[in-house]
């Protein structure tokens, strides 16, 4: 029993301890500020660590293993069908999470950051009230709102923990391997989690309301993935809407609508992965000067400042690309601005990765964007069937493409489909940030045999004389 209203004072209050929040807190502490971080989870990491990126990549790694074992047969090594121990898989995933989370706790402690488990609500621009915590109020000089986002629900269908209708977090808790799984949503979450379950043995049906998968990714990059997933999944249906969904003891009845035709299906489980919405309600923002846009995202400028002088916002709750690394960088910018440094979010190439097999990664300008905004460019594609390394792995269904300025060859964007595309995209991001030309990329020696060579070769195509493929007909 603690009598009375305990209040704490601090320089910087960070609400939310995900990649954005802890990125900001650590930077701020390094710059000498007194920091308190509040989150309903007792350990930092947010959605990404506890029920998002980390668990999903842990399972996707396992899915890749299973796939590679299957593919080894034609290469001379046969594996028998793997025995899946779901309990052990869950335990492994939790171990991974614990290791990272404990590391973050240590880092926070050593930096003198106070972590408070609880939920915060603004009473004014400089004070929050906490619930579920030892302290009742915190007064601060500056605040960073990093409350992230939560999954969108299908209208009329609420998520609940024991339900057969799962949100991505529930799917990642791996309750079981359903015989049949309906995935609603053809974005990266649906594809990644669908791939995991399909590889583990579920019959996966994916429905997408658009005409293709991954609508915001260039179609050519998506095509190899769509081809592969069409074989892995039981079915991929386009231009389909969910008309109604009803859960019962043994499954979920779903009415799917396509072209005003309605089909009734039944699945063991359903995964809803139709996007995310910002966690900007229930924060008491009406007691501050913070303004939201029509979709509920907090409005900010390049310094991450909101319309309230004392408050900053970063990560998913501030809109833009909902990626952890974007949130972390924004968090650092906010911390620096608060500490008095002239910082700004001026990234020119934010990379993104889809962890299907093959993977897709891209950064900078996409062909879709270039067309929409009338930006002139040329594109060079290097197919992986000409990559020695890809051949050694038997993974030639990929390609690397380079978007460059027609005149001076400045690299505007890169897109890669193929195994380990995740590891190749950072070179492209660096090139774009530095203002490199295709010539610079082509003249940088890449080791052989590697997948990264494909990037240099794509640049050499622009220069006019690539090594492992024929020069283009019309010289550039």
């Amino acid at each position: 029993m603690v009598m009375g209203d305990m209040e704490m004072n601090t320089d910087l209050l960070v609400i939310g301890s995900g990649p954005g929040g802890y990125g900001a807190a650590f930077r701020a502490a390094d710059l000498g500020l007194d920091v308190i971080m509040v989150d309903p989870f007792s350990r930092p990491g947010g959605n990404c660590l506890h029920k998002g990126c980390i668990p999903s990549k842990t399972f996707l790694h396992l899915a890749e293993l299973i796939l590679d074992a299957q593919n080894a047969k034609k290469m001379g090594i046969s594996f028998s069908k793997p025995k899946l121990d779901v309990t052990a898989m869950r335990a492994w995933k939790n171990q991974v999470i614990d290791s990272i989370a404990d590391g973050l706790v240590t880092l926070a402690k050593r930096r003198g950051i106070l972590i408070v488990k609880g939920t915060a609500r603004f009473e004014s621009s400089k004070r929050v009230r906490l619930s579920g915590a030892d302290i009742s109020r915190i007064r601060f000089k500056h605040g960073i709102i990093a409350t992230g986002s939560k999954p969108l629900e299908l209208p009329g269908v609420a998520f609940s923990k024991e339900s057969r209708i799962m949100d991505p977090a529930s799917a990642l808790s791996l309750p079981d391997i359903p015989k049949s799984l309906l995935v609603v949503g053809g974005g990266y979450v649906g594809l990644e989690l669908g791939s995991v379950y399909a590889t583990l043995g579920s019959q996966v049906t994916l429905v997408e309301s658009d005409a293709r998968l991954l609508a915001q990714v260039d179609a050519d990059l998506v095509q190899p993935v769509q081809q592969r997933l069409s074989r892995l999944f039981a079915d991929i249906l386009f231009e389909v809407q969910v008309d109604s969904m009803h859960e019962h003891d043994t499954g979920v009845d779903v009415s799917l609508k396509q072209d005003s035709k309605i089909e009734q299906r039944c699945f063991d489980r359903v995964l809803i992965a139709i996007g995310r919405q910002p966690n900007s309600g229930n924060l008491g923002l009406e007691n501050t000067g913070v303004t939201l846009n029509n979709q509920g995202f907090i409005m900010i400028n390049n310094q991450q400042q909101t319309s309230d002088d004392h408050l900053f916002a970063i990560g998913d709750v501030a809109g833009g690309l909902m990626l952890a690394h974007k949130a972390t960088r924004e968090g650092r910018v906010a911390a620096e601005v608060i500490a008095g440094i002239t910082s700004s979010f001026d990234a020119r190439a934010i990379p993104a990765v889809v962890y299907t097999d093959p993977q897709i990664s891209w950064c900078g300008l996409t062909e879709q964007q270039a067309t929409a905004e009338d930006i002139p460019y040329t594109v060079q594609r290097f197919p992986w069937k000409y990559s020695g390394r890809a051949q050694t792995m038997g993974m030639t269904d990929g390609f690397t493409k380079l978007l460059t300025d027609r005149q001076d060859g400045r690299i505007l964007g890169v897109g890669i489909t193929g195994r380990n595309a995740e590891g190749l995209i950072s070179e492209a991001a660096l090139a774009i940030e530095m203002g490199a030309l295709a010539e610079d990329l082509a003249l940088t020696i890449h080791p052989h045999p590697t997948l990264s060579e494909t990037e240099a070769e794509a640049a050499e195509i622009f220069q006019g004389s690539p090594t492992h493929t024929m020069p283009p007909k019309s010289s550039t």
Binding site: M1, M3, D5, M6, E7, M8, T10, D34, G112, I135
Partner: protein
């Protein structure tokens, strides 16, 4: 160095002293299993056992009486009275025994005990949970009265109090318990009892304060500097009794003006003694009458009305300006 709140700093002091000296024992209500209502004695019973961390019945006179007895027998008890407002029940034990034992026995029996209690308002607590009666103990010869103002000096002064051969009343401002965090060294550190600290240097006037009032005093000094370029010297008493007056007197000789700030009621409060010492030591150096910014001669009111009672930054700054306009 690690950043910690006053609660954590006090816990550190108790733990280290208990590790160093077996004769240090703790007693009080809810201090063992519960870790203390403010968590000051958190986890100490796990480390030292219930023989050295004693959960007592609800009987303040017994708590202090036992402490006196333990002390006479050679232990170093640190007893906790859950709220300073409950200590009237143990007044007799302190006044008639703890304070007089050395004098009564001509030095054969001494009482090296510490009585800790949370005092003061600012957390919107109930009646008896918000008073500031340090003056009762300051006026009792034979007792020492110590009031820290932050995590670091709380830890360092508690260490000195525990090591002191005579009874020390140690008041902890509950409004400060978690209010802010400060770097506190892991290695042993102690500050001497009976020494005031100059918290802020300045030449234009002297403001004397202690406990929870130090922070609003420093804020007022900041405001005076930013708005009017007035440089106030702020003295943190740390020990109320024995009152070390040389620091404050030297300061007022330099500045010629003084303001005293405490949350205890005005009349016959600690401020009265401080003002008199300043008159005794620096009368001819004074340029203006000395101002006292204090609580009112009332029981401290409930809840948010506390704000009108407890000296605020505005009241302190206004009093400071009055001394300068003279």
């Amino acid at each position: 160095m690690a950043k910690m709140t006053m609660v954590e700093a006090l816990n550190l002091a108790l733990r280290q002293e208990m590790e160093k000296d077996d004769s240090v024992v703790l007693l009080g209500q809810d201090i063992g299993l519960d870790g203390g209502v403010f968590r000051v004695t958190d986890h100490l019973v796990d480390q030292f056992g219930s023989d050295r961390v004693v959960d007592t019945p609800l009987a303040e006179s017994a708590i202090v009486g036992m402490a006196v007895g333990m002390a006479i027998y050679g232990l170093k008890p640190v007893c906790e009275i859950q709220f300073s407002g409950f200590s009237y029940q143990n007044f007799h034990q302190l006044e008639n025994h703890a304070a007089r034992m050395r004098w009564r026995t001509r030095g054969r029996l001494t009482v090296p005990m510490v009585m800790r209690a949370p005092y003061g308002g600012g957390v919107r607590a109930l009646e008896h949970h918000a008073e500031s009666r340090e003056v009762y103990w300051a006026h009792t010869p034979g007792l020492k009265m110590v009031i820290p103002s932050g995590p670091r000096n709380a830890r360092a002064l508690l260490v000195s109090a525990i090591r002191d051969p005579d009874p020390v009343i140690f008041y902890e401002a509950k409004a400060l318990y978690r209010a802010f965090r400060e770097e506190v060294p892991e290695e042993e550190e102690s500050f001497p009892i009976g020494k005031a600290n100059i918290a802020r240097k300045g030449d234009d006037l002297t403001i004397i304060s202690y406990g929870a009032m130090l922070r609003p005093t420093l804020e007022a000094a900041e405001e005076l500097q930013t708005k009017e370029g007035i440089e106030a010297e702020v003295i943190d008493l740390l020990t109320i009794s024995p009152l070390e007056d040389s620091t404050m007197v030297e300061s007022v000789k330099k500045t010629g003006r003084a303001v005293v700030v405490h949350e205890a009621p005005r009349s016959f409060g600690p401020g009265a003694e401080i003002v008199t010492r300043l008159l005794e030591g620096a009368f001819y150096y004074l340029e203006a009458p000395i101002e006292r910014v204090t609580g009112f001669d009332l029981i401290i009111p409930y809840f948010s009305r506390e704000k009108s009672y407890i000296p605020s930054v505005q009241r302190i700054a206004t009093a400071a300006r009055r001394t300068l306009n003279n």
